[in-house]
């Protein structure tokens, strides 16, 4: 017999289709006397089956091996191998253990016993003289049985093939679901997970065997982005479909935003049975979009700043010159001269602000060697009066040769900004510490200079700390444009350096420390960007 899951059947009998329900079966008649065979042939001819004659057991066996025999009709007393021996030989063959055998015998007690001995398979006997109707009846019963069995086998095989094909289809579909990078999940209406593809394993970090059977809302802690829990669920139940962004949590507790599509599956009765959920991780996309928007805003601001700077500077210079001329004009009395001088002072302030906030004024496009301690001392000189007014003591420690390649005017601007902030943070006095030493950045392995600017002023509030380097963010109430630190960070980034700060605000001590690292040499890309005069770059715009 062919094994069940085989797609190609092997024996010839499978050429029969279910439609040939009336295909003839083979009936083998075995008797050493040809006359008897002939008489059986006449009796059984009406049955309409195939009648095969054999005059010996050997011949009979040959037929059996070649054809599918439904019934073997055999004389018991034959020379050489008798009917019973033949039957035994037939029964030994695994293929013929169910073949119907009808013995034709005289009524011998010993024969009857032996017939009863053949319990396996379909066995019957008929006594001599043979009654034609009886013979016909017995043969046709077995013949019909065989036919039915054959049909059943064919149908079974076809069914098995269809199941195999269908299983293969389902497996292919399951494989496709596994190929999908989206998380595909099925849950029942109460939230119990029934299906969890490898995309879901990937996205959430939970393996299939860990979540199937659990409640999906416990596992993922899903929230809608609108913040209201539950409305999307009722929307889903109401219209059978729902699409939108959801906030979920992966195994590590990390928050992810997904674009979710959900559909209600009906069961066999048409009632809502299960929910199919397909989610795509859009956290990175949203972050990138947000970053791009920020970068575009900053770049736009940089461009606008450059334009405004230029438009303001022209008339500003004219006014500054006018006040310069007024300064010592003989027609002015003392009072007028004071007014002129005050006006000139404020004009210089405007000029300074424009320079600080709307662009950088560079002396050169190539980076030059900058001795950091010199720049710091320069700034300390500029701030001398403020330091004195706020009674701030200064401690400096400059180690090593501390020289880097950079743009001195811009670095001066950074130090001016930071030292100025430090002094302003100590209106009632304090200590300003400046430290410079050579070191290697652990992350990049670049050699460079570390600069520390520390004060023991009031410190930075934690809620401000996050936003400190943002443009237009200021902790000083009225003064300050809020652009100083943003610009400073931009300049440091242009030098391929880093800037960080630490602030303490406890009852025992408070203060802030800014730490800047500047690599020794600036890479070629920075030099090229510098010489292109790209405003957005110099404002730290796109790279903030």
């Amino acid at each position: 017999m062919a094994t069940p899951a085989q797609a190609k059947p092997m024996s010839h009998e499978d050429h029969a289709t279910p439609m040939d329900t009336n295909e003839k079966v083979n009936i083998l008649m075995v008797d050493d006397q040809p006359a008897k065979l002939l008489s059986y042939e006449v009796i059984l001819g009406d049955l309409g089956e195939n009648l095969i004659k054999a005059t010996s057991a050997t011949e009979a066996l040959e037929h059996l091996l070649k054809k599918d025999i439904a019934v073997v009709l055999t004389d018991v007393s034959m020379p050489d191998i008798d009917g019973f021996d033949l039957a035994e030989m037939i029964r030994q063959h695994p293929r013929f253990q169910k073949t119907a055998i009808i013995f034709i015998s005289g009524v011998h007690l010993t024969d009857l016993d032996r017939v009863k001995g053949y319990r396996q398979g379909a066995v019957d006997y008929i006594t001599v003289p043979v009654i034609p109707e009886l013979l016909r009846a017995k043969v046709s019963i077995f013949a019909e049985l065989h036919r039915k069995r054959r049909q059943l086998e064919v149908l079974n095989r076809q069914l098995e093939q269809r199941v195999a094909e269908r299983t293969e289809e389902l497996q292919e579909r399951a494989d496709l679901l596994e190929l999908a990078s989206e998380a595909i999940m099925v849950r029942d209406l109460s939230g119990t997970v029934q299906f969890w593809n490898s995309g879901a394993e990937e996205l959430y970090g939970w393996r299939r065997d860990e979540v199937v059977g659990k409640n999906i809302h416990d596992v993922l802690r899903t929230r809608s982005t609108a913040g209201v829990n539950g409305t999307w669920q009722s929307a889903l139940l109401a219209s059978g479909r729902w699409e939108g962004n959801l906030i979920q949590y992966n195994r590590d507790g990390g928050e992810i935003v997904v674009a979710s599509r959900q559909a209600l599956k009906s069961d066999a009765n048409g009632a809502a049975g299960a929910v199919l959920e397909i989610n795509r991780d859009i956290t990175a996309t949203l972050q990138t979009e947000e970053a791009l928007r920020k970068a575009e805003r900053l770049a736009a601001m940089g461009r606008v700043a450059g334009i405004i700077a230029h438009e303001i500077n022209n008339p500003l210079e004219a006014i500054i010159n006018a006040f310069y001329l007024l300064r010592d004009h003989p027609s002015l009395d003392d009072e007028a001269r004071i007014y002129a001088s005050l006006g000139e002072g404020e004009l210089l302030r405007i000029a300074h602000i424009v320079k600080q906030t709307l662009g950088f004024y560079r002396e050169s496009q190539q980076p030059v060697p900058v001795f950091i301690p010199e720049v710091l001392n320069n700034v300390l000189e500029l701030q001398a009066r403020h330091l004195q007014m706020n009674r701030v003591t200064v401690e400096t420690r400059y180690d090593g040769s501390a020289t880097i390649y950079g743009f001195p005017a811009e670095l001066k601007q950074v130090f001016l900004n930071l030292i100025g902030n430090a002094v302003q943070a100590m209106p009632e006095g304090g200590r300003l510490r400046l430290r410079v030493h050579q070191c290697t950045d652990p992350r990049t392995q670049l050699k460079g200079v570390a600069i520390g600017i520390c004060d023991n002023g009031s410190g930075i509030k934690p809620e401000d700390a996050k936003r400190l380097f943002e443009p237009f963010f200021s902790t000083k109430s009225a003064k300050g444009t809020g652009l100083g630190l943003w610009i400073s960070k931009g300049i440091i980034q242009k030098h391929e350096g880093t800037i960080q700060f630490r602030s303490v605000r406890t009852s025992r001590s408070c203060g802030t420390c800014f730490r800047i690292f500047l690599p020794e040499a600036v890479s070629r890309e920075v030099v090229q960007a510098a010489s292109s005069g790209d405003l957005s770059q110099s404002n730290g715009g796109a790279r903030a």
Partner: protein, 129 residues
């Protein structure tokens, strides 16, 4: 701080397309003792240079027609030793500003401008033919 007074009257060619700023700049320069020849465009400046010699050129960067840079380039072709200062309202140094001898921002103020001019004149006096 008082601006330095030049030893002999140096002649400065001052170029700017805007009248009021040009006038005020000229007055500042004259107050410090310089002789000033004004021009409202690069073309006018080049014509003036054909007719007379000057000791220094102080020019605006962005002007309609030829820019201050174009002017500087043209002048250098004929008189490479003539000092040229680019004065500008932009805060960025343009790419090829190195054909001029110095780039100065307008908002540095008149004192810085006068200092730089004196410096340049001193340097060039040492090397003039």
């Amino acid at each position: 701080m008082e601006a330095p007074v030049p030893e002999s009257r140096s002649v400065i060619l001052c170029v700017d397309d805007e009248t009021v700023p040009l006038t005020l700049r000229r007055l500042v320069l004259e107050k410090s003792g310089f002789a000033v020849v004004p021009a409202s465009s690069a073309t006018e400046a080049l014509d003036i240079l054909k007719a007379q010699a000057v000791d220094l050129v102080l020019t605006d960067l962005l002007m309609p027609g030829l820019s201050g840079l174009d002017l500087a380039r043209k002048i250098k072709e004929r008189s490479p030793a003539l000092p040229i200062i680019l004065l500008s309202g932009v805060n960025e140094v343009p790419e090829d500003a190195d054909c001029a001898d110095l780039f100065l921002s307008k908002v540095e103020g008149p004192v810085a401008m006068l200092e730089k001019i004196s410096e340049m004149l001193k340097k060039s006096r040492g090397t003039t033919v």
